[in-house]
């Protein structure tokens, strides 16, 4: 059994989902890469922002 940290799990999730989204939601390779990177940044960025928000609320 592997036991990743929460952030590692988020990054792995974002990586795999972004690859599939990029390939399936766009037509050309260049746009696929750009959209995949955009999704990855949004997944990771929103996780970090929400984590800070919850941290500040909990204080």
């Amino acid at each position: 059994m592997i036991n990743p940290s929460h952030f590692t799990a988020v990054v792995l999730f974002a990586l795999f989902v972004s690859i599939v989204f990029g390939i399936t939601m766009r037509d050309t390779p260049r746009r696929m890469v750009r959209y995949g990177l955009y999704c990855f940044a949004m997944f990771c960025g929103s996780a970090i922002v929400l984590s800070w928000v919850m941290f500040l609320i909990a204080r």
Binding site: A9, L12, F13, F16, I19, D27
Partner: protein
């Protein structure tokens, strides 16, 4: 009134000239991740899709994620539907007794979500292969 199928003119003559069973990439892509794209000779896309979906499914199992076997309530039913999206991976996993029977640690809960999401991504990939086959999406 029936809506005529939307055809992408950018697909070119190659999309319309393919013969054979039009749902084959859809079914193959559902059963084996990436197989629909391989059938359409989209080797890199198929390989990336297969690596992503199989990797996500395997990571879910490695995290002791649960493979839904029956539906006792609506959430179980949704989980089962998501798991079934994995096609043969789900059947092999169930036949091999892989996955936890119940979620007991936090990581196992993440693993369960990884498996369900892998199934849904596989369905998206299979539909993408079908769209490529029918010409709705440019080859």
């Amino acid at each position: 009134m029936a809506t005529p199928p939307i055809r992408n003119t950018a697909a070119g003559p190659q999309a319309g000239s393919q013969s054979g069973f039009v749902y084959l990439p859809l079914i193959a892509g559902w059963l084996i991740p990436g197989a629909g794209h391989f059938l359409l000779r989209k080797w890199y896309r198929g390989a990336l899709l297969a690596a992503s979906i199989i990797g996500m499914f395997a990571l879910g199992l490695a995290m002791q994620g649960k493979l839904y076997a029956s539906a006792h309530d609506i959430l179980d039913l949704l989980g089962l539907v998501g798991d079934l999206g994995n096609g043969l991976l789900y059947i092999i996993g169930r036949a091999g007794g892989l996955g936890a029977d119940s979620v007991q640690v936090t990581v196992a809960d993440w693993g369960t979500r990884f498996i369900v999401v892998a199934g849904m991504l596989n369905v998206i990939a299979a539909i993408d292969a079908h769209n490529l086959r029918t010409g709705r999406k440019a080859l």
